[in-house]
Symmetry: C3
Subunit: 350 residues, 3 copies
């Protein structure tokens, strides 16, 4: 694609094009990271990038660069260089738009593969693609333009809306609801029965898990992530919430809109997560705990008690991130502190 064509696309996009220099209007078809970009490729520098990345600009071989419009030093370097460039308010968004143009998603053949098994009473919309060896159980519904990859198993009475993508070998249990434009990655499990057992003198008695899971619009679920159904009621994941790989969402959890949860996060049963909450990798939340809107929890954090909206928390048990940083720094000095105390005790007993 010619750079001049890309500029036209960026003008229509959300990245906020501010300025550009077309130079010799290079023709690129490959995108790369700033550290690895070579001639005939395009890359970008994000706002507030660290020094080592900013320094790459001085010696880059890139043919095109997307740059942060507020970084005057970088723009000055660009003006004195040979590469073509555009400055944008949001260069990372511009790069995402560029990738979508350079690498359009592979066309998936519409239609139902002959090896797919469709049970009774299944409703299938138009433009649907159902891959090889898929199984869809009784009375499930598949909305328009939804893509179901090979080996997926959908139990009965599942309701799947429009424009969802369900990757290979994932499993969706009965009565689960997917609204529109969700992505389920490979080997994920949605709607499996929650972990509910009651202790009795005869051993564990299973609490039947007859509730179901609802994924609102634009939810994405990572590979090998599990979302459990509750005994009664619903497990709900709010619109535009993104969940990474190997995450556990316990039965009856309620998650708001626009959250992001990194890999290996674990939410126990009945937790309530607000909107725009960000949980970093390996965070755990204890059952029935409430996490307020906009909370950020750093990696490996263990949240045992309710967290008020807007807090940034760390550690286990979770405390304010600022306090945790100071406490952790002190933790390494514990042996020295013991020495200091012993010394004081010696002096005071004299």
């Amino acid at each position: 694609m010619l750079f001049s064509q890309l500029i036209n696309e960026l003008k229509k996009g959300d990245a906020g094009l501010v300025d550009y220099e077309i130079s010799n209007d290079p023709d690129v078809s490959v995108a790369a990271s700033l550290e690895k970009v070579i001639t005939n490729q395009i890359s970008f520098l994000d706002k507030d990038s660290p020094l080592n990345l900013r320094n790459c600009i001085k010696s880059t071989q890139a043919s095109i660069l997307l740059l942060p419009s507020n970084d005057l030093e970088i723009i000055e370097i660009a003006r004195n260089s040979n590469f073509a460039w555009a400055s944008l308010k949001e260069p990372k968004i511009g790069f995402a738009e560029t990738l979508n143009i350079l690498y359009p998603p592979d066309l998936v053949v519409e239609g139902i593969h002959k090896t797919a098994v469709i049970a009774n009473g299944v409703q299938i919309g138009f433009g649907v693609s159902i891959g090889p060896n898929v199984y869809i159980g009784n009375n499930s519904q598949i909305g328009n333009e939804t893509i179901i990859h090979a080996g997926v198993v959908i139990y009965q009475k599942v309701k799947i809306g429009n424009k969802n993508v369900i990757h290979a070998n994932s499993v969706i249990h009965s009565e689960t609801v997917l609204k529109d434009e969700c992505v389920i990655n490979s080997n994920a499990v949605i709607g499996s029965e929650g972990f509910g057992f009651v202790s009795t003198p005869k051993g564990w008695k299973k609490m039947p898990q007859i509730g179901h899971v609802i994924l609102e619009n634009k939810v994405e679920i990572g590979s090998c992530t599990t979302v459990d159904r509750p005994s009664v009621g619903q497990t709900v994941i709010g619109e535009d919430t993104k969940i990474d790989n190997l995450v556990q969402i316990g039965h009856g959890a309620s998650i708001g809109k626009g959250c992001a949860m990194a890999a290996q996060v674990g939410l126990a049963g009945g937790v309530e997560i607000g909107n725009s909450v960000i949980l970093a990798g390996q965070v755990g939340v204890t059952n029935k705990v409430k996490v307020g809107d906009g909370v950020i929890a750093s990696s490996k954090c263990g949240i045992h008690t309710d967290i008020e909206p807007g807090n940034v928390v760390s550690g286990f048990p979770a405390i304010s991130n600022k306090l945790w940083l100071r406490c952790s720094a002190t933790f390494k000095k514990l042996p020295d502190l013991v020495k200091a105390i012993r010394e004081l005790e010696r002096k005071s007993s004299r």
Copy 2:
């Protein structure tokens, strides 16, 4: 179902029916949580519930409630209300029994789906259901009334007993033994080769993993949970032990009866877990460590050394829960302690 019919069932059950008031004998078909229950639905209050749940009783719209017989204040409220109610020694067990009546498990059609692939020498009992696209390897055995859902892969020489349920796309490796009434949830992997490599000057040499996995009666395995086979001998999970999603059971682990392990627990190779052990979410146990009967480990606990029976442990490395609570509370005050020590040093050096 009419409440009077439910009362008859509860009399036969294990929940210990003490008293009841049929009122207008409501007819319900939906169960809900106490916070969300509405007219024409049934819910329950468990023993020792927190105040916010107990308060729900005063204004509930439920038509039927199962209540704790030892909670006289609640029973008194019930007597003065319009809803029908039953008081039980174990209301949670009563609710589980109610769910089983209101929502009987979906009938699974018996028989072998025409797309299932059954290899040579496979023995299949009566009343077995084998779903679409299942594969069963040579010389495996499937006991009576076992249900195998779509996409399951069973390698060769696997022995599966009676009344097991194996959910979609899970994988059972060769020579694994499942006794009776086990549940394997979707995308679980049982009997994969243990992580055994010996360091040599030429690189890692693989230790062959030719042992196998045994699941005793009534074991349940969560979605995307992995149970490894050992190099020699067995990995054993004892009767009535319940394991949640995304758990790792290392090669040669030995787990007793009636345990419960929450999501994302990891047991390294060769650990020995006693009976009735409870491990909360994200707990880790180091290889070959022994955990005694009845031990409870709180979430994210890291168990590096043997734990004596009956202990409640927390933290990393694991210590007594009571001590850990005190130490964690002090951890947040570390910066203050440093200040106090510096102040003492100033005074003493005067």
Copy 3:
């Protein structure tokens, strides 16, 4: 197999046979652990084994034992016993070689199962085995003697080399490259899209993940482990690196040769791991962090900052293992330290 035959094989192997005593040349077909070995079985004692294992030698019923040649006390016991034995420089390697002889891998029937679905333009080498219900997408390549078990899904343009083994129901996404002799365990996912979203006023914008994953020779990937593709460039796992179950490898991670990562490790996006790095269970590494050659991180360690080559680290945030052991030991005494400080304050204020 007669012991004399095994001795001939061990002479050709890598375990360094030093001495042996054939006794009555026992014929064994079963291997077992030293704690459980009985008559007509073979077992081994590794170098530097703990006392309880070494003591097993005195009363063992084993018919054959492989022993560490540098352990003169053990060899002395062997000389005065009835069992046949061999002493080796590396008895564990000898045991691995023995297992390979006693339990040769099951022969997999070559050929493509009739239920496998092979799309257009797929190249398949000789000696390949493709199991039931496998799907291979357009233009993928499968090298010689590769074994693909039942239910595996391979997307398009995947390049798989020679002598790979891909276990049941795992998923390999488009453009992934597997060199030779890799093992992918069941339900693993290789090449799924990385977790890349840009925050915008309209919600999360997805960063397209159009890079791909490369597994060099002899890489092994555990069950339910996920390896993500990056937005641009590659996620690379180096030769002979072994990865256990339920591990997350983030997009754009670069892992060196000969590493080992235990179960439930999580690497965030863009981390750079050197050669011969060992990460124990549940370790987490923050995005873009560099971990030098030969680093060892103990279980549950949280690595937030670059680690220099050769370090042994522990804790969260990770510090030197030696320091961490001392700090952890002090952590349990925090309440006592507070008391000591309060006492000092009382004295000093008098």
